[in-house]
Symmetry: C2
Subunit: 370 residues, 2 copies
Amino acid sequence: MADTADMAGWACPAPLRDYQRIVLGHGGGGVLTGELIEHLFLPAFAAGSSTTRRDPTSAMADTALADTALADAAVLAVGGIRLAFTTDSYVVRPLFFPGGSIGELAVHGTVNDLACRGAVPLALSAGFILEEGLELDVLGRVAQAMGRAAAAAGVRLATGDTKVVERGLADGLYVNTSGIGLVPPGVDVRPDRAAPGDRIIVSGPIGEHGIAVLSVREGLEFGGDVHSDTAALHGLVAAMLAATVPGVHALRDPTRGGLATALCEVAAAAGAGIEFTESAVPVPPVVEAACGFLGLDPLHVACEGRLVAFVAAADADAVLAAMRAHPAGRDAVVIGSVTAEHPGVVVARTAFGGNRIVDRPLGEQLPRIC
Amino acid sequence: MADTADMAGWACPAPLRDYQRIVLGHGGGGVLTGELIEHLFLPAFAAGSSTTRRDPTSAMADTALADTALADAAVLAVGGIRLAFTTDSYVVRPLFFPGGSIGELAVHGTVNDLACRGAVPLALSAGFILEEGLELDVLGRVAQAMGRAAAAAGVRLATGDTKVVERGLADGLYVNTSGIGLVPPGVDVRPDRAAPGDRIIVSGPIGEHGIAVLSVREGLEFGGDVHSDTAALHGLVAAMLAATVPGVHALRDPTRGGLATALCEVAAAAGAGIEFTESAVPVPPVVEAACGFLGLDPLHVACEGRLVAFVAAADADAVLAAMRAHPAGRDAVVIGSVTAEHPGVVVARTAFGGNRIVDRPLGEQLPRIC
């Protein structure tokens, strides 16, 4: 990197306060989503929090609301145990794509949010918003995909809700899954635990989910089959924690906004810099071809079955070996490390020996990818 | 009632299997919603359940999936405590109505689902689906309503998610709130605990929420102000449980499908009959006038801040007194009792001394009421 002193002074764009209305980018998981959380939701929800009556029957910890913005799931201390709790709505278009459907996505995505706090997933909810006129056959196929994915992941679909809106709304169906999981004793996995010296491990090839959805949506072919990588990652996380509990500092599944966003968010949360080797990031040829064709950065394309791990240097070999021994992590690689320099800034070493700053996308590069 | 023997042979209409597509009524909380749950969701989700790996780190009970269909929230045994877990999506139209907004509704509705299992609400999630073009000001007002309602109810908005869909979809915004709560030791409140002899108590006037939404949506006036009854009921439930823990058998908040649906569902779950005096049900004059004008049955109109309780006869006076001493239950009244006769059938004694069978609405009497 040419000049880390200059880099340290660099910052994300200032809040774009001139937006009066929601744009697609507010749902993209990038800068605009972050602004919405920081400037609208957190103040509105915190207005409540400051006057919150403490619950008399539980030992709920004073979990910061900001946890919402920083981590994949909130962790709450309840009655002597620690629960992870998370929610995601799924609006992917189309409902079915190579390698999966909104059903698998809704189970895997929420399981993975729990796993990225080190939690063992226990139960999911399923809240459907259906469009009048949706074929029952389509709904049945989605529900069965959810049932199969939940069974394979060992989680229970424990509670549900169904609403119907008029024809022309809701694009067939939307589904929300919320999830609860149990954080085992001693496990403490969160973005702000990433620390200088940590090795950064990516669990497998990136970008296949985003390109698979795009290919079917736009009717494009990219010189090769591409299937969504959608998968549950809690088994992989359990294998990593079996190698070391304290050494697994932070985990993130790079969904909307891709690997770049995951790295930027962890750098910001940890107040540390990140450096990685661009050529070390596993980008499948079909993803590279599609991104070249479409002018996309593979680092911004969503995965739904990958994670990025921040692991203490002393434990990195053991964790990497554990990941490679697990089916969901057999292509895991170290791509870089956390630095004390240029806190909050993510730097890629390019194939040409230079450095470039990697940023979150502003808004929505690929709308409705999950 | 003329002939309870005949009544015992009566049953709900057979599954309407000739539906090929979703109709609005599938979201109405009545017969069609029940069929969708029974014939589509439960089989699909259960396909998973039978092969579910038991979680090795927790003591999760083998909660029946059918719990989903029967109760407001699932109760899961986890690590020595019992958690209630529930989800609801809110699609009410319009977003703001006399007495509240989708924001209050989303907090109160989910808090009340937890309360109806006797749980102390702990935390909520908030999953937004926003329409491109939605004014940020509108979103801010909804979020602030959620923050205020959560603070007043003493629950934490712990985790969230934001998706954006294209203009023309999602009607401004939809929001899902899922919730977790702690079931205190000894508390066991569920529809199938209602038993012959139980007194049936309604906590206050019915139907105001539905008529308030309808009045603003259709621009109708009904000769009086009507405001949504939206309110959190966990404080009322705590007061009832303070009077007796074992005597509170079942609780239900009569939302979609109204009081009639709540009574029918409990009768079915408990395998018992229900008889009540129609004139004892508190129907405000404005609700009566509106229902007369529109040809609606007040027993089918949604409340969002009322509950119906099934209480052991010996404890009914104490519970009624506890309810009346609480602001959310000051108009509580006994309307009837559970019988061993005509299991599954709800019978109203009319003002004219006759009996009529009360059934769930088939589908959607008032679409998008919550």
